[in-house]
Amino acid sequence: MKPVNETKISFVSRSANEGFARAAVAAFAAQLDPAVDELVDLRTAVSEAVTNAIVHAYPDKLGVITLTVQLFENGCIRVQVRDRGCGIPDVDKAMEPLFTTGGEDRSGLGFSVMESFTDRLRVRSKIGKGTTVTMEKTIAPRVRARA
């Protein structure tokens, strides 16, 4: 299925850009007229994916994170968060709830939140090459009051 609209944004892996990334996705997704709850789900999932890239993909240096957002005719929104960082040695392990390598103030819930707040989550990673997180969420059609 081809997207009806698409945007691509690249930014440096500074934590200040976490807010920028979720605001950018929310602004683009507004075309699908999402409900407030759907938008918060999306913003939260994006925040988790981008934070993972900032904290884990580039632990000792700054790198580039690319965000691709695609909108489909059926109301589906696909968000891809891609980094060229260190990669995840064991994706299944990383996706276990509460597993973290990020120190004691990281909850290890990032992937669980992405999974709960979107309809589909796919993670591809290669050591030394980077990680791509793809999330999909279908925005429910809104029943509009007739004039």
């Binding site: 807010g19 988790e48 819930l109």
Partner: protein, 113 residues
């Protein structure tokens, strides 16, 4: 993100205002921990009523402050957690910790029924 710290006797109330993510959590954590340790607070309350956004960094903040208060024989209480925060709390399996404002939770529960 704004943080309001108020002290009543040995109780520190930290009211978080704005968006709590990994970026904001670093500074919030440092300011709360410094205040707790310097002012020798035995009770810490995290008031989430002013939050407009929170991701799992908030859970990390709660877990870390719980450990801090526990290590110095104190207690932690969370006030005004949103429904969404409760979803994440359940994902973390933290709902059994004795830190939740039970009257608030009961009220929310009753409203849902």
């Amino acid at each position: 993100m704004q943080l309001e710290l108020t002290k009543h006797d040995d109780r520190l109330v930290a009211r978080l205002i704005g968006e709590l993510d990994h970026h904001a959590a670093a500074e919030v954590r440092e300011r709360i921990d410094n205040a707790v340790l310097q002012q020798r607070c035995r009770r810490l309350t995290l008031d989430f009523s002013g939050l407009t956004f929170m991701d799992s960094s908030g859970i990390g903040l709660i877990m870390g402050r719980y450990r801090l208060m526990h290590s110095c024989g104190g207690t932690l209480q969370i006030e005004n957690a949103s429904q969404r925060l409760e979803t994440v709390i359940r994902l973390a399996g933290l709902e059994k910790l004795p830190i939740w404002d039970e009257t608030e939770r009961k009220k929310t529960h009753e409203t849902c029924q």
